[in-house]
């Protein structure tokens, strides 16, 4: 019987740190897409709560504890990010949801990076057209947007952001983020000396 081992798309490439910012990889055990069928949102919430989780967040928001985070991920779609592998749903969607929502395992599909530090926002602003100002894109907010021509989902954390990109471009996204970190840090140093 075979036993395959998983491999992160950013294996061995992170963390990356330059003055004022740290980019690191975050590993969620399971990521599940939940798309409630028509009229089933309440039932989905009941079911989620029965599993010890939070209800689905509002549009553009995050809900639930860190270990079992629920994020809004677009029109009619939510992602359950579970720190423990296979905690809520295994790769085979929970049959209890059959009539309630379209469930789809996305654990492998998304790669999550965390960008933190004093200049994290400035770094992200080099790549991302979203209005990232703290007064606009607040803690608990989540957005699907673009990062250097790639689709991303991002939300604000206490000291920075978590950034989700699809697996096939994870290395490109990482390279662009680390490049922006270099650029911002170097320019900041320049500003201090001149």
């Amino acid at each position: 019987m075979v036993d395959l081992t998983g491999l992160s798309a950013l294996e061995g490439l992170l963390p990356y740190e330059v003055d004022g910012a740290v980019l690191s990889a975050v590993s969620y055990g399971a990521i599940t897409s939940i798309m409630p069928f028509r009229g089933q949102k309440t039932a989905v919430n009941v079911r989620l709560k029965a599993d010890g989780g939070a209800a689905l967040p509002r549009i553009g928001r995050v809900s639930g504890p860190v270990a079992k985070r629920l994020i809004w991920a677009g029109r009619g779609q939510y992602l359950l990010l579970d720190l423990r592998r296979g905690a809520a749903f295994d790769t085979t969607p929970d049959p209890a949801f059959d009539e309630l929502a379209a469930l789809s395992d996305q654990t492998s599909a998304w790669v999550v990076m965390r960008l933190e530090g004093a200049r994290a926002q400035e770094v992200l602003a080099r790549l991302c057209p979203l209005d990232l100002r703290a007064g606009v894109f607040k803690r608990g907010h989540v957005a699907r947007t673009e990062l250097a021509h790639m689709a991303v989902i991002l939300w604000r954390r206490p000291k920075g952001f978590e950034i989700m990109v699809v697996r096939s471009v994870a290395q490109v996204a990482m390279r662009r983020l680390s490049g922006a970190m270099d650029s911002v840090a170097a320019q900041a140093v320049l500003g201090e000396i001149s």
Partner: protein, 987 residues
């Protein structure tokens, strides 16, 4: 040396060495290249575009038309840099441009002697005979003369970056108006971004000897800048030019981060391009002083008055020893006073106004004009005509004045550019004889200071404050109690005066493009009288400065000639960018592999280890072939791989194909509507090949539909069309049939998927999976879940090769693990990897189509899939696919081709003809869409689109490739070259 002993904003304790045309010179930190050159009495800095006239520094800002130089040497050099904005740094190397062999002695200056024959548009009237001469002789000659600077030709390896910025208020220009507005808005707590193109904030306050509230303006500036920099909500960006206004409150801006540094650290970008989104904007871009046209007004030593004040007051440089001034407004007198205060001799002020009070400090000729100048490489003398109205002067008296610098002021043109980028036209203000920005020209933009005609510092400060109040009112905030400081000066008194009539030489309007008053007159004579015609005919305003100095004068000349007023004559269109933007920064991150994201397949690492050649497919990189020892040509690898699949087993990474989970109570109904064939009848555990049409009836894409449950399907798309198909599904679900309850999730990235094909594929699959893969559980076109240890995998028995084949999908993070396992197991069975090339061979042998055939112009019937369009239901594209022209017999249809002549060569893109027909367009019978060598058959095969092709199986046609000079005979055959009844597929 013309450096003044004291004053200025230069750091005299920090000398900076630099070179100009090989000459070693020294300036100070705070100098521009222009000011440092003037400090060394370097007046000649360039040659003009067309006539190679000697030219000097005219301005002190980005509008400079003459002093364009090359900075740096070799591959990293930059042409056309304005010496007036380039800060000097240790070791800077600058060269003059557009001259040969040297700046002082330029052979091309012969053009100037030919000027009478090089009038506006002369080239439209000649160079037509003999016909062949244009390209061989005339044009190369014109081209060689073209341009000012030269690109090095080497790749630009400089680092460029981009960014997005958001603010409540963007203030464009950090002069008195902009700073006052920033202070008010900053104190009120707005999120403010101030951008200024200069390296010092302050605008004209740095260049004038003004007092504010009774103290030097510099004091106010220092305090204000200190306060602004202490505010967290205010960001002041110097060296940043806002270059364009775009829809939705978006502004483009270029930040020049390290042009002023000789050796910036590696990671420092040269420039950053900002996309700034602002709720409100205050345009405080100031104004640009305009010249007066008179004979030979382009000599080195003739300079704009405001520039001269900048050089004297800010850079502590005397632009000449005996300076004269030609003006139509008070700025001339102000300049004279500043010069005198700096200890520089003022020879005369030539004032076009007859009705102003005489200034006794210097010779003030009123009602006078400069009618000629002398000095080949630098001004030596001017000729002045004083008119009858001037007291103390006789009528029309001509006098010559020795002078080495002539200061010119023709009034001010407010910098309205950004207010016009969304199509608005500026409006005329008679009292200052200038166009100002129209109200509401750009939504959310308020104009302040000189840009809206408030020419004095006091008025500018007041207008900046007022603008901030307007913005605050609109955004619902309040300005703290704040007073604009009082300035002593008054507004500019001007009497419009554009050009001196009746002079003998040429009077230059556009210094950059060498356009004269006579050229405008000629345009008028030839009926090019609309401003756009005049511009296009004379090329006025099309040079690097985009007419910042020239346009108004030319408009006035044209207005004169046509008898219309200046506002009636109108302006040409203002277009972005305000000042030129480098391709490097606008296209930052476009270079090399960064141009588009690279998508990696799960087998990427192993493919690299195996030395596979990679090829792009959409944004993905996929292995094309896997060379083995002894294989030196791709065909060898490809042939081996293809035969391996036919004979044993091959494995291939098909992850890049689009995979979409379709779920929901209405999933089946929905898929019936988007696919041409019937999907709802598909049983759970089965797969169906399916075709999707566009609404116009053409094929959009093909793929498979697998049913995993009553309400759960997994559909695949081709690699290239994955994004388009998902968008189409969302469109159908949300826009066409929102009543259907169906959800899509792209699972392309979730599943690493591999094809396992060949007679031994079942054996391989069984070895891999926990349970044996039987034909009962997985018959041809069956699908289901299998376990690989703790993993649940999806298994599909589908084939794109014509062999018994499977596709197995595991969560992508296990992709690499599976890849290595597959590699090992395949090798055990004498098989291995096959790439895109072999995949193409296999599909051609079997007669399957790809996007080479499905090119957006074919119907399902054209490619032999007509029967798939179900008659029992409607679907997207069905009605239109049955249009007369799409179902008629006279269409190109998919067929196979095999060689029938001595030459076996079949070429993609070659066309087909009936035997005996001339190979011309009228006889075209079709073309080859794809071809390959079939190692299985031992000869080339092809797919072709042939007129009425399906009815012509067995016919011999001639393939002609004009481009590669190949002709051969080939036979039209079925596109299915192997196993037409599918025995191998079903096993």
């Amino acid at each position: 040396m013309s450096r003044l002993a004291k004053g200025g904003l230069i750091a005299r304790d920090r000398p900076v060495r630099f070179r100009f045309d090989g000459r070693e010179l020294t300036g100070f930190e705070g100098d521009t290249l222009a000011s440092a050159l003037l400090a060394h009495d370097v007046r000649l800095v360039g040659r003009s575009f067309k006539y190679h006239r000697p030219r000097g520094i005219l301005c002190a800002g980005s509008e400079e038309p003459n002093a364009l130089v090359k900075i740096g040497e070799g591959g990293a050099s930059t042409p056309n840099i304005r010496a007036t904005t380039q800060e000097i740094y240790q070791g800077l190397i600058a060269h003059s441009q557009n001259r040969f062999p040297s700046l002082r002695f330029d052979l091309m200056a012969v053009n100037d002697l030919m000027a009478p024959f090089f009038s506006a548009g002369f080239y439209y009237k000649t160079f037509m005979w003999p016909a062949a001469f244009w390209e061989r002789f005339y044009e190369p000659m014109i081209r060689r003369a073209a341009g000012l600077g030269a690109l090095s030709g080497a790749p630009d390896l400089a680092r460029y970056d981009k960014g997005f910025a958001y603010c409540d208020l963007l203030i464009i220009g950090a002069g008195p108006a902009g700073l006052m507005a920033a202070l008010a808005a900053g104190r009120a707590g707005l999120d403010v971004l101030v951008a200024d193109e200069d390296f010092e904030a302050g605008g004209r306050l740095n260049s004038e000897t003004l007092e504010l509230d009774g103290a030097p303006a510099r004091d106010w500036l220092t305090t204000t800048l200190a306060e602004l920099s202490s505010m967290e909500n205010v960001r002041l960006m110097t060296r940043t030019t806002v270059t364009g206004a775009y829809d939705g409150g978006i502004y483009g801006a270029v930040e020049r981060v390290s042009h002023h540094l000789g050796d910036a650290p590696d990671a420092v970008p040269l420039e950053v391009f900002w996309r700034i989104t602002a709720r409100r904007v205050i345009l405080a871009s100031g104004a640009i002083e305009r010249p007066i046209a008179f004979a030979d007004n382009d000599r080195p030593g003739i300079m704009m008055a405001s520039a001269v004040r900048s050089y004297v007051n800010r850079f502590a440089v005397a632009p000449g020893r005996d300076v004269s001034i030609f003006t139509n407004n008070d700025e001339g007198l102000r300049t004279a006073r500043d010069l005198v205060a700096a200890g520089i001799g003022v020879v005369a002020v030539i004032d076009t106004r007859a009705d102003v009070a005489a200034d006794d400090e210097f010779l003030h000729l009123r009602g006078a004009e400069v009618i000629a100048t002398k000095g080949r490489l630098g001004l030596r003398e001017i000729t002045v005509r004083a008119s009858e109205q001037t007291r103390g002067q006789t009528r029309g008296q001509i006098q010559r004045i020795k002078t080495d610098c002539l200061v010119v002021s023709g009034g001010w043109n407010p910098s309205v550019h950004l207010s016009c980028h969304l199509g608005a036209r500026p409006v005329w203000r008679e009292d200052i004889a200038a166009f100002i920005a129209a109200r509401g020209a750009v939504p959310g933009m308020v104009v302040a200071g000189a840009a809206c005609g408030e020419m004095s510092a006091g008025a500018a400060l007041g207008s900046g404050l007022a603008a901030a109040k307007t913005v605050m009112a609109a955004l619902g905030g309040k300005v703290a109690r704040l007073r604009a400081p009082k300035a002593g000066e008054e507004g500019v008194k001007i009497s419009a005066f554009w050009h001196v009539r009746g002079g003998k030489g040429r009077a230059w309007l556009d210094f950059s493009n060498d356009v004269t008053v006579k050229d405008v007159a000629l345009a008028h004579r030839e009926n090019f009288r609309s401003v756009e015609h005049m511009k296009r005919y004379t090329t006025l305003g099309m040079a690097p400065d985009q007419g910042k100095l020239a346009n108004m004068g030319a408009l006035a000349v044209m207005a004169d000639l046509t008898g219309r007023s200046v506002p009636e004559t109108g302006t040409t269109t203002f277009r972005p960018p305000y000042t030129p933007v480098s391709m490097g920064v606008l296209g930052a991150h476009g270079r090399g592999v960064d141009f588009a994201p690279v998508r990696r397949v799960p087998s990427h690492e192993l493919a690299r280890e195996l030395g596979a050649e990679m090829v792009e497919a959409g944004l993905w990189m996929r292995p094309a072939w896997y060379p083995r020892a002894g294989e030196s040509h791709w065909r060898q690898s490809c042939d081996r791989e293809a035969l391996m699949v036919r004979q044993r087993v091959g494995i291939s990474d098909v992850t890049s194909l689009g995979k979409i989970d379709v779920q929901g109570p209405d999933a089946a109904v929905f898929l019936d509507r988007v696919y041409a064939n019937m999907i709802s009848t598909l049983k759970v555990g089965r797969v169906r090949y399916a075709v999707m049409l566009r609404e116009d009836g053409m094929v959009l894409d093909d793929g498979t539909v697998a049913r995993f449950g009553a309400r759960h399907f997994v559909v695949t798309t081709t690699t290239a069309a994955a994004g388009e198909v998902l968008r189409h599904l969302d469109f159908c679900a949300q826009v066409l049939w929102p009543d259907l309850d169906v959800m899509f999730t792209s699972v392309t990235e979730q599943w690493a998927q591999f094809a396992v094909a060949g007679p031994k594929s079942r054996e391989l699959m069984s070895a891999l999976c926990d349970a044996e893969i039987t034909d009962e559980a997985f018959a041809f076109m069956g699908c289901g879940e299998v376990r690989l240890g703790s993993l649940v995998a999806r298994l599909f028995r589908i084939s794109f090769s014509g062999e018994r084949a499977y596709e197995i999908a595991v969560p992508a993070e296990y992709g690499d693990g599976l890849v290595r396992l597959l590699d090992q197991e395949a090798a055990r069975l004498g098989g291995g990897w096959y790439g895109m090339e072999a995949l193409n061979v296999l599909r051609l042998e079997k007669g399957y189509v790809t996007h080479a055939e499905l090119d957006g112009r074919v119907t399902a019937d054209d490619v032999g899939l007509g029967a798939m369009v179900s008659a029992k239901k409607d679907c997207v594209g069905k009605v239109m696919s049955q249009r007369e022209g799409l179902v008629c017999a006279e269409r190109l249809q998919l067929v196979g081709l095999k060689p029938a002549g001595a030459s076996k060569q079949l070429l993609g893109g070659a066309h087909l003809f009936n035997l005996g027909d001339e190979p011309v367009r009228q006889n075209d019978q079709g073309h080859i869409t794809s071809q390959c060598f079939s190692p299985h058959l031992g000869h080339p095969i092809a797919q072709a689109m042939v007129l009425r092709g399906r009815s012509r199986i067995g016919e011999t046609v001639r393939m002609v490739d004009h481009l590669r000079e190949v002709q051969t005979l080939c036979e039209i055959c079925s596109p299915v070259f192997i196993d037409p009844d599918g025995g191998r597929l079903r096993g």
